[in-house]
């Protein structure tokens, strides 16, 4: 021992390096962020897809949490998982790695689970005492009614038809959307205490609002008048429009189309009609379209499934005349702008009936004479808050300028509900600021396991021709869990512990409780950026220190 009571040659007390705050070396610091996943960014219904997939990844109890997160934005998971054209999957970063996550198939699984297990929505908001009228019980109207009810308002729906569902019932064939699924999701909304009056056609929006003593109105009457084209035809020839045809499929008597059916148009509706015709017994179902396949507005899978079912396509053709059971078609040619020009060459096509699927128009009679309303291109103009030029009258869905899909309609309903809610309180709705997009380059994809997409089973083609049974099957639980776990969680921490592990300075603190993430210990963080580089999902960024 040396004279100072310490072991030989020790003059200072031994201490820990914790006394040395290496954080002072730092010129940049790591900061946890949330970025906007591309799927969320692309969803017309504003779903927080990454967040509900995060819950679903946990399996078991996670499915119900996922479903509850999902229905905060969209009350129709089972429907949406079947009929949405899933722009989320087109945007999915995983598509650049192997294949996009099958978001729709997981959504459908959750929706079907909810129906099977009878999950209900609980109302939490205090009643506001306000009454709102919704006109039209289609996707947009039902969505608005649902969200308004959850916000505490009392909602009445007037629906001109005999059943709720709108285009989900009268436009989408059963083989794509079984009616028990539709009924279950609609019923769950109505069970919240919404007053639905069927076969109640509104003649004037303004009067209906005044007479019923409503504080606001949301119009969502859709676009269900089939656009006609003039086709010279003999008196005996059978010409129908697609919307009426699909609507009549919901009646007791199936429409009579004959054995040879021609469908004029190139959208999804044309495909739906041709596929329906095949199921009704048509031996020949021919889609006549004036442009080429790559210019067809119909979605790829619709065209493919139609072709599998024996639907034939006649490209670059227009209908000149329909006479004596024969269609006279003229061959077209695309000019340099891609517009079809007549060539004068004609051919004949035998047909028992011709269905026009040339688009739909909105019936805006209920707005006639209402002050402040502006109509352009056959649709009602609305502001960014979904309100028309008439105070208190809001509108959405197919009757306003937008892409006409169920999902867009549902999104309009939610957006309108939030704006109506704010407007009723004399405020303006301020949507939360969007986070910066989590693009592919912000990810470190090394960490994700290689995993091809789970394919949904499909009904055998032979069985499709004779039945309206659903064509696309759902995933079972194993596959749904697998598919959910393919999510990269772009831009949002999924608690992988990488930052906690890779810090050479132990300067990442793991908070530990479920759902809690991590913190940077700025006393020791040297600002090397390893945690940022090795974060799989791009949820950390480097921010320069103020010098």
């Amino acid at each position: 021992m040396s004279g100072n009571g310490k072991p030989y040659a020790i003059t200072l007390d031994v201490g820990s390096s914790l006394a040395n705050h290496t954080g002072s070396w730092r010129t940049e610091r790591a900061v946890y962020v949330d970025r906007l996943p591309p799927c969320n960014d692309a969803c017309p219904a504003g779903e927080n897809i990454q967040a509900w997939l995060y819950e679903a990844e946990e399996g078991d109890g996670g499915y119900e949490r996922a479903w509850r997160k999902l229905v905060e934005d969209n009350p129709f998971p089972a429907i949406m998982g079947r009929v949405c054209y899933h722009p989320c999957e087109s945007a999915c970063n995983r598509a650049q790695l192997d294949e996009a996550v099958g978001i729709h198939s997981v959504e459908r699984f959750l929706g079907d689970e909810a129906i099977e297990r009878g999950w209900r929505i609980e109302l939490e908001a205090e009643p506001s005492g306000k009454r709102v009228l919704v006109v039209g019980a289609g996707p947009s109207g039902l969505s608005a009614a649902y969200h308004l009810t959850r916000l505490g308002h009392s909602v009445t729906i007037y629906e001109a038809g005999a059943m709720a569902g709108g285009m989900m019932r009268f436009g989408i064939p059963q083989y794509r959307l079984p009616r028990d699924v539709l009924d279950a999701e609609v019923r769950r909304i109505l069970d919240l205490g919404i007053d639905l009056e069927l076969e109640h056609k509104v003649e004037s929006a303004e009067e209906a609002m005044r007479e019923g003593g409503f504080d606001a109105v949301f119009l969502a009457v859709g676009a269900h008048i089939g656009r006609r084209a003039y086709v010279p035809a003999g008196e005996a020839e059978r010409i129908l429009d697609a919307v009426s045809l699909l609507e009549s499929m919901e009646g007791a008597e199936p429409p009579r189309l004959g054995r040879r059916v021609a469908v004029y148009g190139g959208g999804d509706t044309a495909m739906d009609v041709a596929r329906t015709a095949r199921r009704l017994g048509a031996t020949d179902a021919v889609v006549v379209y004036r442009r080429t396949r790559d210019r067809m507005p119909a979605h790829e899978f619709e065209v493919e499934e139609a072709a599998q079912e024996g639907v034939m396509m006649k490209w670059l053709s227009t209908v000149k005349r329909f006479e004596g059971g024969k269609l006279l078609l003229e061959r077209m040619e695309l000019d340099e702008t891609g517009f079809p020009q007549p060539t004068g060459e004609v051919e004949e096509l035998e047909a028992d009936s011709l269905v026009l699927a040339l688009g739909q128009e909105a019936d805006l009679a209920l707005l006639e004479g209402v002050s402040g309303i502006e109509v352009a291109d056959g649709v009602v103009q609305v502001g960014p808050n979904m309100m028309t030029g008439h105070a208190g009258i809001f509108a959405g869905g197919d009757m306003v300028p937008a892409e006409r899909t169920v999902t867009v309609g549902v999104g309009h309903g939610k957006k309108a509900a939030r704006n109506i809610d704010a407007w009723l309180r004399g405020e303006a709705y301020e949507p939360a600021a969007k986070h910066r997009l989590a693009d592919f380059d912000s990810l470190n994809t090394w960490y994700y396991a290689d995993a091809p997409r789970a394919e949904q089973p499909r009904l055998e083609v032979a069985r499709r021709a004779s039945s309206f049974e659903e064509v696309v099957g759902g995933l079972d639980e194993d596959n749904a869990l697998y598919e959910a776990r393919r999510c990269l969680s772009c831009g949002n921490c999924f608690s992988c512990d990488n930052c906690y592990g890779v810090c050479p300075d132990n300067a990442v603190i793991k908070l530990g409780a479920p759902g809690e993430r991590y913190e940077i210990d700025l006393d020791y963080c040297k600002g090397c950026g390893l945690c940022v580089a090795e974060c799989p999902c791009g949820a950390i960024e480097m921010v320069p220190e103020e010098v």
Binding site: I10, L12, D13, V14, G15, S16, S17, L18, A19, N20, H21, T22, W25, E58, G59, W446, Y447, Y448, A449, D450, A451, A454, E455, P457, R458, L459, E460, G473, D478, N479, L481, Y482, E483, R485, R486, C487, F494, S495, C496, D497, N498, Y500, G501, V502, C503, P504, D505, N506, A507, K510, P514, D521, D523, Y524, K526, C528, G529, L530, A533, P536
Partner: protein, 353 residues
């Protein structure tokens, strides 16, 4: 119908932890009670691979031995940045003597423990590549030959970094160091020299030899755990990038360690009693250029006055490793460990209801 069972666990086992895994399936580094054998406040450079590797290896060893562990450390960065008198970053019994005698000191500690009947306490010797393959080489070989019960860990950053980046016996060909400068037609370190320390260790026919990198934590932890199950001399050669000495970004330390394995330049394997028993297969093979480019010590190989013929020689070395250790996946599908979430794959599209 052809069916394939695929298990998926989102981020696989590549990440450190994962909230969905059972706690005992996560890495030691994911645990909130990891021992942090090398704690905060040490003076290693930003993004130091050696500091990271030392914590990874020692925390795993601490867990495997229930905290009954003593470490003997050679002189070098690891010692200098962790213990400037009177501070220490070590949270385990730790002893430093000289540059060249760490294996001998570790042997002595093991002998003392044996004499005291405390063979439950285990010993690790550790050092950088200089202290291991050059200066401490004789002591290490002796430790192997005598059969001492020590795990020796070499943190290989491929040069003498502490004294200013001088060439060691582990410096790879063509790399620039302070004394292998790419001037006058000498393009960096010479080919054909240097020592393949893991194979030299294997030639001693000791119970266990393994290589690992800081880019694959699970693999590293498994190897430490395996080493601690065994008795006698064991050797772990750990690849730890040095941002300062290699002229790389501090944030690229793990990326570079990942790339060295994916090129084949650094074969990752384990061997028992002198025979290779397992190899870590390449997952996404990349040309050596992708590994060399982010490092300024190889900058002279590229650009207008570059040396594509040298890059080709380095590629040939990688290809030779790939052949020698059979590093490419055999069946085209990578057999990476996975967990929950089982899926049966059907051929796309035609699975009937």
């Amino acid at each position: 119908m052809a069916e394939q069972r695929v298990k998926l666990y989102q981020a696989g086992t590549f990440v450190v932890g994962n909230r969905l895994l059972e706690p005992d399936e996560r890495t030691v580094q994911a645990r909130m009670d990891r021992s942090n054998s090398l704690t905060s406040g040490h003076r290693a450079c930003q993004g130091c691979g050696e500091a990271l590797g030392a914590r990874y290896a020692l925390d795993a060893a601490m867990r495997a031995t229930d905290g009954k562990l003593i470490a003997a450390n050679a002189t070098g960065c690891l010692e200098v940045f962790s213990t400037p008198f009177p501070e220490s970053s070590w949270q385990l019994p730790w002893i430093h003597s000289l540059f060249g005698n760490a294996p001998a000191v570790a042997s002595g500690v093991a002998a003392a423990l044996r004499a005291k009947g405390r063979e439950d306490i285990r010993v690790i010797g550790q050092g950088g590549d200089g202290g291991t393959v050059d200066i401490g080489f004789g002591c290490l070989s002796g430790m192997f030959e005598r059969g001492d019960d020590v795990l020796f860990v070499c943190y290989d950053n491929e040069a003498y970094m502490n004294t200013g980046v001088q060439r060691s016996g582990a410096t790879p060909p063509a790399a620039r160091t302070a004394n292998t400068k790419p001037i006058d037609g000498h393009p960096g370190n010479a080919f054909g020299q240097g020592k393949d320390m893991p194979r030299i260790a294997m030639a001693h026919r000791i119970p266990y030899v393994a290589t690992a990198t800081v880019a694959d934590l699970r693999d590293l932890e498994c190897k430490v755990e395996r080493a601690m199950e065994l008795r006698g001399p064991r050797y772990l050669h750990l690849f730890v990038p040095c941002p300062l000495g290699w002229g790389a970004q501090a944030c690229d330390t793990i990326k570079i360690a990942r790339l060295v394995r994916e090129t084949g330049l650094f074969p990752v394997f384990e061997a028992e009693d002198g025979e290779v028993t397992t190899v870590a297969k390449i997952r996404r093979q990349v040309p050596v250029e992708e590994y060399l480019r982010p490092q300024r010590r190889y900058a002279h190989l590229f650009g207008e006055h570059g040396h594509p013929e040298i890059v080709a020689r380095l590629q040939a070395m990688a290809d030779e490793n790939i052949r020698r250790y059979d590093l490419l996946p055999n069946d085209g599908c990578n057999a990476l460990a996975t967990h929950e979430g089982v899926k049966t794959l059907h051929p796309a599209g035609d699975g009937a209801l």
